[in-house]
Symmetry: C2
Subunit: 313 residues, 2 copies
């Protein structure tokens, strides 16, 4: 049985891990920073892969931020790598290494990773949210990853929760991401600070959700309300998502979920208020991700194993 | 090969159709009105089934309005039959006829029917909306019907499009159903008539979406705007649904879709305005249902055939 090379291309670093067919402990693990001078991200990726390459590798599976078409192996765009527009990474890697190379959205793969090896094990219907700079999503429905026609599905951060609300990174207004992502929580707090409201926080462009969380833990009212507002709209969106998907578990990952005590209570209150039937909440598990930074790599591993076993059927 | 008995329990009539394993032309087709004096809906259903029963029937598949748990064969509640609360119809039919009996939501089955035999043939990722008294939904994702953990998924009419907006049949506010269903279109028009605005329509509790459609075709501004408003919010919700599911086809059935020329144009304009990436709209087909009143029966047939072939695998 061959080996699997899983790769996670993040905003700050690219990680590569080599797995056997059975274990989730990598045989080898290397990383490189994503940006550097003198060469492109693709060249850096190649040098990383070359450094771990062995001939027993049977498949490459890549997790990358941004919309990707897994069937075509094309990255449509990536927030971390501005030059990658309709970038045929799958074809390029297959051409160079002569093995199949699969490219998928990192949030989708993180959902798959949590389902196979993390907090979602044993569930058949799962929602996963990663809440940090943006809000990404992943859905497992009857043991199948939701990808959509072109791999663009499960953009759970890009649903309207406040019509004509704050501007979203995608250009639309009032999306969940524009209200409950880290930068959105910080900018809501900043707006109120700039209006002169009293707070322990110091206004300035570098105010982060982490700063707001620290202030909230000290009892700062603006900070607490910034998280309550995010939690309120998250609960509202979650009610809609439960009506749409009826999952048995909802998993939150990413930086904002590390402030779960600030977000989860207002979220749960809002969820109960907005759900149309209590049947959606019976036995529903709401929890945090278990795989941490490894979710993308382990999701890429899970994807590769599913592909390999489908080929062998 | 045995026969399949498909049943569609509607608000006004119950239909039963007997199919062979291959064709979509029924061998037999009977109907009975849902409500009558002197016996219960269940008793009427049984008498209908008895009238078509033959020993070659291998499976019963039932479409019914309202949330149902297909794995348990339990109807959680049905808008048409107030007495059916957690009603174990599957168990009762299996006990009486000694064959498996599957119970599913009629909108989910209509989606399955349109996918297998109607407007959605050949697609792998499909959204189906039925727009009449309420708004029901069905989703096919990678050739699989979206049911969720307890069969409560795909309630596409019950997502918030206008926070704190009009009251929905489910008790929540501002759901798509509360704005774009037939009665919601009529009650929006009625509100403006009651405020004294000039119109060819006569205000009154019996004003229907059909009346509004007729007035709109005569150029009545309130009537036109009632459909434009429904189309606007439908387009807004559809943008979210495309971000969530990335389907290749969206199919509209039900009475309101018969006024498609009044709803579709404002819906498409709004959809284009609210989509975050044109990739979701490339090659997307938006069309009307093809199976008409037979969608529930043919969906029940499709469900039974999938069940039978899964058993034989």
């Amino acid at each position: 049985m061959g080996l699997i090379l899983a790769i996670d291309i993040g905003g700050t670093q690219i990680r590569a891990a080599l797995y056997s067919y059975e274990s989730i402990q990598p045989i080898q693990h290397q990383r490189i920073s994503t940006q550097g001078t003198g060469n492109t991200v693709y060249e850096r990726l190649i040098s990383l892969i070359d450094s771990v390459w062995v001939d027993e590798i049977e498949i490459i599976s890549v997790a990358v931020a941004g919309p990707s078409n897994p069937e075509m192996g094309v990255i449509l765009s990536s927030p971390n790598i501005p030059g990658w527009l309709n970038f045929p990474l799958g074809e390029k890697l297959t051409g160079r290494y002569h093995v199949p190379a699969h490219i998928s959205n990192d949030a989708n793969l993180a959902a798959l990773g949590e389902w196979k090896y993390g907090a979602g094990q044993g569930h058949h219907d799962l929602l996963y949210f990663t809440m940090s700079t943006g809000i990404g999503g992943g859905v497992i429905s009857r043991d199948q990853l939701l990808l959509g026609h072109k791999g663009l599905a499960a953009e759970l951060g890009h649903v309207t929760v406040l019509p004509d609300g704050p501007l979203c990174s995608c250009g639309q207004r009032g999306h969940l991401e524009a209200i409950a992502s880290g930068p959105s929580i910080a900018s809501y707090a900043l707006e109120r600070l700039n209006a002169g409201e009293p707070s322990v926080m110091k206004p300035g462009p570098h105010l982060s959700a982490r700063d707001v969380a620290q202030a909230a833990r000290k009892g700062d009212q603006i900070a607490i309300q910034a998280f309550e507002r995010a939690g309120y709209y998250l609960g509202r969106a979650l009610a809609d998502f439960l009506h749409i998907f009826n999952p048995s578990i909802v998993i939150f990952g990413g930086g904002v979920s590390q402030s779960s005590e600030l977000v989860f209570e207002p979220m749960k209150t809002s969820l109960k208020e907005h759900i149309m039937d209590p049947g959606y909440l019976d036995d529903l598990i709401i929890t945090t991700a278990r795989l941490g930074d490894d979710a993308g790599l382990l999701g890429a591993l899970a994807y590769a194993r599913i592909e390999l076993s489908a080929q062998k059927d």
